[in-house]
Amino acid sequence: MLLIDTEACIGCGLCEDNCPFEAIHVVDGKAVVNDSCTLCGTCVDHCEVAALAIERDEGEAIDLAAWSGIWVFAEYRGGKVAQVTNELLGVGTELAAQRGVKLAAVLLCGQSGDVPQQLIAAGADIVYIVEDPALADFSDDAYGNALEDLARKYKPEVILAGATAIARSFIPRVATSLITGLTADCTNLAIGDDGHLHQTRPAFGGNIMATIICPKHRPQMATVRPMVMKANTPDPARQGEIIVETIAPVRLQSRARVVRTVFTEGEQLNLSEADVVVAGGRGLDTREGFKLVEELAALLDGAVGASRAAVDSGWVGYPHQVGQTGKTVASKLYVACGISGAIQHVIGMKSSEIIVAINRDPKATIFDVADYGVVGDLFEILPRVIEKIKERRS
C-alpha cells in the first residue's frame, strides 16, 4: 500500500509530475493515489516533505547466512564461451572480494574441453561442471533443472547470467522454481551497505533506471546486459578448483528438443564486438544516402550500425540496429550520422569510448552523449571526410 500522510502533504505535485503510471494526482491540495499504482516508489523518492511511504508486509526472511558465494552461469554454445561470461567474471571478481567469498562459474555442456581453465583464467575460483549429452544443445528444461539442483546443493548468495537469448529464456524458470527474485537486463551491480546486491536496470524503453534489491530471498539473481561490465585480463597461470557434478538423468529429460540450429549473420556478432562502428539514421534520407555510412565504415575498418528509423526504412538489415531493441555496442569509436539521439538508441551505444555525432540540428540530443559534435549537412560533410581520410592513408 502507498501511505499518504495528508497532514504532511503540501500538495506540491512533485509526485504527480514524476509518477511513471499516472497513478497519483493532487486533488484539493492533497495527493490521492489510484488503481494504476504499481508501488514502484518513484513518488516516495521525489516527495520533499516525506508525506509518502510504502508499507511492506515485513514477512520473515529466509536464513540469509546459509547462502554464500557468487556464481556466474558460463554460457557455452557452438564451441565458444560467450563474451558476456568473461564480463560477468570481471564484475563477479569485485563483488566476491567485497563480500569476502569465492567466485564460481557453472558450466553446463556436452563436453567441457579446456573451457574450465579458460573460466579460471578469466577470474573463477571454482568451476562446477556438468557434462552430459543432454546438455549439448540448449534446453530450458535440462539447463533449468541442472542449475536449480546445483543452487539447492551449494546455496550461492548471487547467481549472474548474461542477458542473452539463452539465459533470458531459462533463468526466469530457475528463479521461479527457487522462489526468489530476478532482476532483468542489469547495467550496474554493486554490494550495498546493507550487504545486498543492488541491481540497476533500465525500464520503460530506457526512459528510466531502477535500482532493485532482493532482501529476503536467496539467491539474488540477475541477468546482465552484454558489453557493459569489464572483463578481467585473462591470466592463464591462475589456479582454481574444478568440481565435476552429475545431475539425475530424469532431471535432464526435456519436453522440447532442438531439431536443427541455423547460424546466420556472422556480422551480427561483429557489430557488438567491433572497435569502430559507423552508424546512420533517418538523416541519410535514402538507401543511396546510407551508402555513405557504409563507405566510411569500410574505410575505417569498422562495422555498420543503424538507428531503428534506418532499419525500418529498409536501408539496412535488423542485425545492424543499435539500441534498446537492437545490439549494445561498446566500441572504441562510434560515429553517429543523422541520428537524433533518442534514448532507445543512446542506451545501446553510450558506453563507447569516443562518440562523434554529425547532425544538422544543433539541438539534437545525440550531442549530449557525444565527445565531438559537428553541426552540418551530412551530404556535404561525409563525402569530404571520406576523401580526406583516403588522402591521409595514401
Partner: protein
C-alpha cells in the same frame, strides 16, 4: 485446442519520453495500449484456431481500466476474455505476477497452449513467460518467430537466438512467447466490433482465483524497487566548427586517429 493468450496494458511507448528540462517522464496525453508483442501473440492464437479449430481466451492482470484492451482483443477475433483485478495485486514483481496469472489460468480450465509476448514494453523484463510456464509445469519456447506445424500434440517452432535460430519440437500443453516477426496482426473486424460492444468482460478478484494472499502483490514479491531515476548523460563534448574544409579536415583527423590508433 484451447488457447490462452496473456496480454498486458502498457503506456504507448512512442509517447513516453524524458523531459530534458525537468528530467522527468513526461506522459501528457499518453494512451494505454495493448503491449505491442501481445498483439502478435493474440493474432497467432486466432490463426491457430482458424487452422486447427478450438477457442482463444485472452486474460490480463491489471487495474479495472485494462478491460479496454480485453474488449479490443474481442474485436480482433478472440472468443473469450477476462480480467484479474484486485488491489492486492499492486506492486507485483514477475514472481507474484506469474503466480497470479497461473492461478487464473488453472481456474479457467484445461489449456493446450499459452501464448505470451516476448516482453512488455514498460517492465521490459521478458520474465513472465518462462516464469508462468514453470508455475504451470509446462515446457516452453521463448522468442518464437514461426510455428511450422502441430501434429500429434507436438509442435514445431522456430526460436530466435543471438546468432541465428533453432528449430524446436515441443510437446503440448506448452507455452510460447512470440516476437513481432511471427505475423502481422489484423485489424478489428466489423463482426468483432459488434461482439465487443455487447461482451461483458468478467473481472476476478484474488479470492475468485483461490489465491494465497501471501504470494500476491508487494508481499509476494522478492524484488523491491528501491530507487527510480533518469539515465545520466555524458555531457562533455567539443564542437568542431569552421568552414566545410576545416571541419572535414579536423574530423578526418579525429576519425583516423581513433580508428587506426594515433
Amino acid at each position: 485446442m484451447r488457447i490462452v493468450v496473456c496480454i498486458k496494458q502498457v503506456p504507448d511507448a512512442k509517447d513516453v519520453r524524458l523531459d530534458p528540462v525537468t528530467n522527468t517522464l513526461s506522459r501528457e496525453g499518453v494512451k494505454s495500449v495493448i503491449n505491442p508483442y501481445d498483439r502478435h501473440a493474440m493474432e497467432e492464437g486466432v490463426r491457430l484456431k482458424e487452422q486447427y479449430g478450438g477457442t482463444v481466451t485472452v486474460i490480463s492482470m491489471g487495474p479495472p481500466q485494462a478491460k479496454a484492451i480485453l474488449s479490443e482483443a474481442i474485436s480482433c477475433g478472440v472468443d473469450d476474455a477476462f480480467l484479474v483485478s484486485d488491489r492486492a495485486f499492486a506492486g507485483s514483481d514477475t514472481l507474484a505476477t506469474t503466480y497470479t496469472l497461473a492461478q487464473a489460468i488453472k481456474k479457467s480450465g484445461a489449456v493446450d497452449l499459452v501464448l505470451c509476448g516476448k516482453q512488455a514494453t514498460d517492465g521490459d523484463t521478458a520474465q513472465v513467460g518462462p516464469g508462468l510456464a514453470a508455475r504451470l509445469d509446462m515446457p516452453y519456447v521463448t522468442c518464437v518467430k514461426k510455428i511450422n506445424a502441430i501434429k500429434d500434440q507436438v509442435m514445431r517452432v522456430e526460436r530466435m537466438m543471438d546468432d541465428g535460430y533453432d528449430e524446436v519440437e515441443i510437446e503440448l500443453p506448452a507455452l510460447l512467447t512470440v516476437v513481432k516477426e511471427i505475423n502481422v496482426p489484423r485489424f478489428p473486424s466489423l463482426r468483432g466490433l459488434r461482439k465487443a460492444k455487447t461482451f461483458d468482460i468478467p473481472s476476478y478478484s484474488a479470492a475468485d482465483i483461490d489465491a494465497d494472499p501471501a504470494q500476491l502483490g508487494l508481499g509476494g514479491s522478492p524484488t523491491w524497487v528501491v530507487k527510480v531515476f533518469p539515465p545520466e548523460c555524458k555531457g562533455e563534448r567539443s564542437m568542431i566548427e569552421g568552414s566545410l574544409e576545416e571541419i572535414a579536415d579536423k574530423l578526418a583527423g579525429i576519425l583516423s586517429d581513433s580508428a587506426y590508433g594515433a
